[in-house]
């Protein structure tokens, strides 16, 4: 079968030595088994994330995203752009849509892009990795390579915000999206009913408003415990980092004993497809996902 090709936009947090560096690691086995080839967009730049607006305003924000779209259009023609990071995807898709709607903004964008020697026709479709899996591979396709069903794992599927809103996955509801639960079940684990599945972790405000964000994080983790989960799974790099990293801080301040592993769906798939703990990036956890490691080492 010919490999499916995509223009890949990793994003800053997925670089080597960055906060989500184990995410791209965990994608390797998954992509190999699903015949997906990711072609990194040469010299891609930051999307501005969710706080770029403060200093960046609108046009500079659109322009930095347009540069990535223009590079994909030029260097990897005909390929959809795919990002693993919801913030990267959201910013890129929002840019593509806004520039479609407003020809004057596209003209201004191209005036600025000229400074970097680029021009955008705006023909690239910006997609999220979970979209590609659901729409291009399908749940049956995701199930086919499973050699180690994740039996006995009870998982809280934490979709979070930006994979889900404002765009989300076509056909899913904003309030109770079901695709992540289905993905969990596809690899043989149990998806627990989890009412905090689309609650905000605080996003970038985890840095600027730690108390307020940690209240959100505590609710998210405690709900996973209350619903009998032994781990949380998320499609979002910032959700993963916030919800995993700050559990120790919450414990320190409030005397709680939170110790809930938080992994990416790609790590589940990697293990279910026969990948080792290292190939699944499980050595990148601050809170070890021991049950998942156990299955990987079997």
């Amino acid at each position: 079968m010919a490999k499916k090709q995509y223009a890949f936009y990793p994003g800053c947090s997925s670089q080597k030595g960055a906060s989500a560096s184990n995410f791209p690691t965990s994608m390797e086995v998954m992509c190999q088994k699903l015949d997906i080839q990711l072609n990194e967009i040469p010299d891609w730049n930051c999307c501005g994330a969710s706080i770029g607006y403060g200093e960046g305003g609108e046009l500079p924000r659109l322009v930095i995203n347009a540069r990535n779209l223009a590079l994909a259009e030029k260097e990897l023609p005909g390929q959809d752009m795919v990002s693993g990071c919801p913030a990267c995807w959201l910013a890129t898709r929002e840019t593509a849509e806004r520039l479609h709607e407003h020809s004057s903004l596209l003209a201004e964008t191209n005036e600025a892009l000229k400074e970097a020697g680029l021009n955008l026709k705006n023909t690239v479709r910006a997609r999220h990795m979970t979209e590609v899996l659901i729409e291009d591979i399908g749940f049956e396709g995701m199930k086919a390579p499973v050699v180690k069903p994740l039996e006995g794992l009870k998982i809280a599927g934490y979709v979070g915000c930006q994979t889900n809103r404002p765009f989300g996955i076509a056909g899913e509801s904003f309030e109770n999206p079901l695709y992540l639960d289905k993905m969990i079940e596809t690899v043989g684990a149990e998806a627990v009913k989890y009412e905090q599945k689309v609650t905000c972790c605080g996003g970038a405000l985890a840095f600027s408003e730690p108390e307020k964000s940690q209240k959100q994080i505590r609710d998210i983790v405690e709900s996973a415990y209350d619903n009998g989960a032994n781990m949380i799974v998320t499609p979002c790099q910032l959700c993963q980092a916030n919800v995993e990293i700050y559990q120790s801080e919450i414990n320190k301040k409030h005397g709680t004993k939170l110790n809930m592993p938080v992994v990416y769906y790609t790590q589940l798939m990697s293990v279910a497809y026969g990948g080792s703990a290292k190939q699944a990036g499980l050595d990148g956890q601050l809170i070890r996902a021991e049950k998942l490691e156990g299955i990987a080492n079997k």
Binding site: G54, E111, L205, Q285
Partner: protein
């Protein structure tokens, strides 16, 4: 008062709605708010806002310029997009909040020392420098934004987490002497400067 602010006051007199419509990202949507309050009830940081989006929109129409632009409310936005998807009239509320925050920041009416305002600037400056965010330098800049003593205290408090991340290869101490960057970082700087120049001209902030 900043010069930009004095000019804006002179130009728009008492018509703050018009000012927002012309100068704030997606500001032309403000008048469409029907005051239902769904946004106020949907915000994860709702308990901490001075004014909900619904109130902000009414205050804009009532001409409460100073109160709106100096409010800390816009800076409480986590970009969760709950308000956008729930608004019955499909107002792009998140974008309007971001637009108001940016405008208040540019006029220097936004609250001084507001932590999200400060980190938003640090973040943008960080990314424009090389084209990519350097997480280590960004974290250190955040810790040390209130001076050296406080910075050391902040860094010490986060030491355990930092070491954990280094051990998990999710934080690289070597990023301090360079780190990841775009090859065309100079093109990116010029491109961003140009975009700002165009937008400032269009918004009357040049």
């Amino acid at each position: 008062m900043s010069d930009l602010n004095t000019q804006a006051v002179a130009r728009y007199k008492n018509n703050f709605l018009k000012e927002v419509e012309e100068r704030v990202e997606d500001g032309h949507w403000v008048k469409m708010c029907m005051q239902c309050g769904v946004c106020a009830g949907s915000c994860p940081l709702g308990p901490h806002w001075e004014h909900s989006p619904q109130k902000i929109f009414m205050m804009i129409r009532a001409g409460k310029r100073e109160e709106v632009l100096s409010s800390d409310s816009m800076w409480m936005c986590t970009s969760c997009y709950n308000c956008i998807v729930r608004c019955p009239r499909k107002l792009p509320i998140t974008h309007i909040m971001h637009g108001l925050a940016n405008y208040a920041h540019r006029l220097d009416l936004a609250p001084k020392g507001q932590p999200t305002r400060e980190i938003a600037k640090l973040f943008w400056d960080n990314l424009v420098k090389t084209g990519r965010v350097n997480e280590l330098k960004f974290s250190l800049a955040m810790y040390f934004k209130d001076g050296f003593g406080q910075g050391v205290k902040n860094a010490m408090a986060m030491q355990g987490i930092g070491l954990g991340l280094v051990k998990a290869k999710r934080l690289n101490p070597m990023e301090i002497i360079g780190g990841h960057k775009c090859k065309d970082s100079s093109g990116i700087k010029k491109m961003v400067a140009k975009a700002r120049e165009i937008e400032d001209r269009r918004r009357g902030l040049a």
